[in-house]
Amino acid sequence: MTVDSNERLESQIGEWRSYMRRRRELHKTDAEELEDHLRDRITELHEAGLSDDEAFLIAVKRMGSLDELSREFAREHSERLWKQLVLPAEPDAPAAARTRRELPVMILCAALAALAVKLPGWLGASMDDDDSASFYLRNLSLFALPPLAGYFCWQRRAGWRTIAAVAALFVVGAVAANAYPLGGSTDPEDEPTQSLVLTAIHLPLALWLVVGIAYTGGQWRSDRRRMDFIRFTGEWFIYFSLLGMGGGVLTAFTAGVFNAIDIDPEDFISQWLLPCGAAAAVIVAAWLVEAKQSVIENMAPVLTRVFTPLFAVVLLAFLGGVVWTARGIDVERDALILFDLLLVVVLGMLLYSISARDPAAPVGLFDRMQFVLVVSALVIDALVLAAITGRITTWGFTPNKTAALGENLILLANLGWSAWLLIGFVRGRMPFARMERWQTSYVPVYAAWAWAVVLLFPPLFGFE
């Protein structure tokens, strides 16, 4: 065998090996075993007088078609198609060292989050103390989100500017939540003030977007990175819900088995298991999303696909009902909130179908369905707004109403322009990427609004 032909044969075998490695059903060791076989076969054929090329061709042919081989391997090792659900099985990339540290760092961050929940209790703000209830309500997002942001800063090797910016924003949030006299009342009979509730809702939103800065590793201006963060948010929510369900089962069993031996686990559950578990789950869910993003189909777009037509039908039916009964929408106290949430859901479905869409794909039935969904949501919201404006002008502005109205307008503006872009797209006049850009450029609006509610509303409304 000359050196030249030997090299040629090696490159052919190398090519064959890379084909094998592309099959998920075949592990590295399987490919190695098969390659060993292939080499034996080639040697034998070579000794029988065949040239390298001939020997290689026949050996490959005798090995069987790759499809058939993969199918047989899949039948024997069906778990491999499901594998890597917990840990990346074969870290063979050069980044393996970092991947190995990923798990301990994640556990450390989760432990920090759990610790952060317990810390105020040790400093005197007990969890089941009514006085401290407002403290926990205000600071809910400040327990788990800083460790999460820290995890992403580490994971993305963020620069010190990014880390400083993220840290500063967290400090601003903490100060706003605690320096304003939001829930000064010591009387447990008093309902929490509107400003306190608004901060409790909007601070997590604002800080979640700060986590987004860490998530993008400081590249928060990039459209692609923003879209990644939107994808991450959807998947994180799903994983968090799943972990929550698992945690519920664990809690139920803990309560059951300890009660059976007459030990009351209630304190442990309410003081340790639930708060620490929830805080740690925030980190674990984020880690799972990151570890699995290329392995498992993203769930949020799948759910979107299922529910977009259903929601479209429900909204159309509702509009039909409004026309049929010729009755205006009865604007109750909470109606604005309800319709805000409806817009959020519609927007979410729009976002998650965008996040998984191939921008180059042609217009399909689904896009038209989406258009119907967005337009019917807009029409409904216009009816609601018309009905509610009268009430607000008579009763004046309270923090709740202002916040709800502001959110409604922000979502309305987004969906209105989205509908316009969707028309252009469905009629083939606009590329889909315009839609994607619009949504990613809109994210700072949410951030600005959330911060405004947290920072400006309380003084504006006299800490009402």
Binding site: T29, D30, E32, E33, L34, D36, H37, R39, D40, R41, A59, R62, M63, G64, E68, L69, E72, F73, R75, E76, H77
Partner: protein, 122 residues
Amino acid sequence: MYITKDLVAASATPLVLGILADGESYGYAILKQVNELSGGNLEWTDGLLYPLLHRLERLGHVESDWQSPEGGRRRKYYRITAQGRAELAEQRRQWAAVVDALHGVWSRTAVLPPIALEGGTA
């Protein structure tokens, strides 16, 4: 001679176990031995031997390890286990019953032409 897929598949396990009962071996050598034993009549697709070996390993009939001889390639060797030997004995019993039954059929059925035993390829 062409042998149907079903027959090849059915005989694969006892053949592999029987070969391994003689001592540890690796994929390519097993395949060559099957070829020799059957006089070239049993045509296996090379690659498909490996999923079979993995299945036998999962069932506990064989065990395997990677050996790298001095200056040679790393190679995966398979060894039969006690459970594998028991399975082999069981398969042998079943096959004997089938072969007996078939003998009975061949000798009774006068309609069948006798096999021409040319060249000793029985």
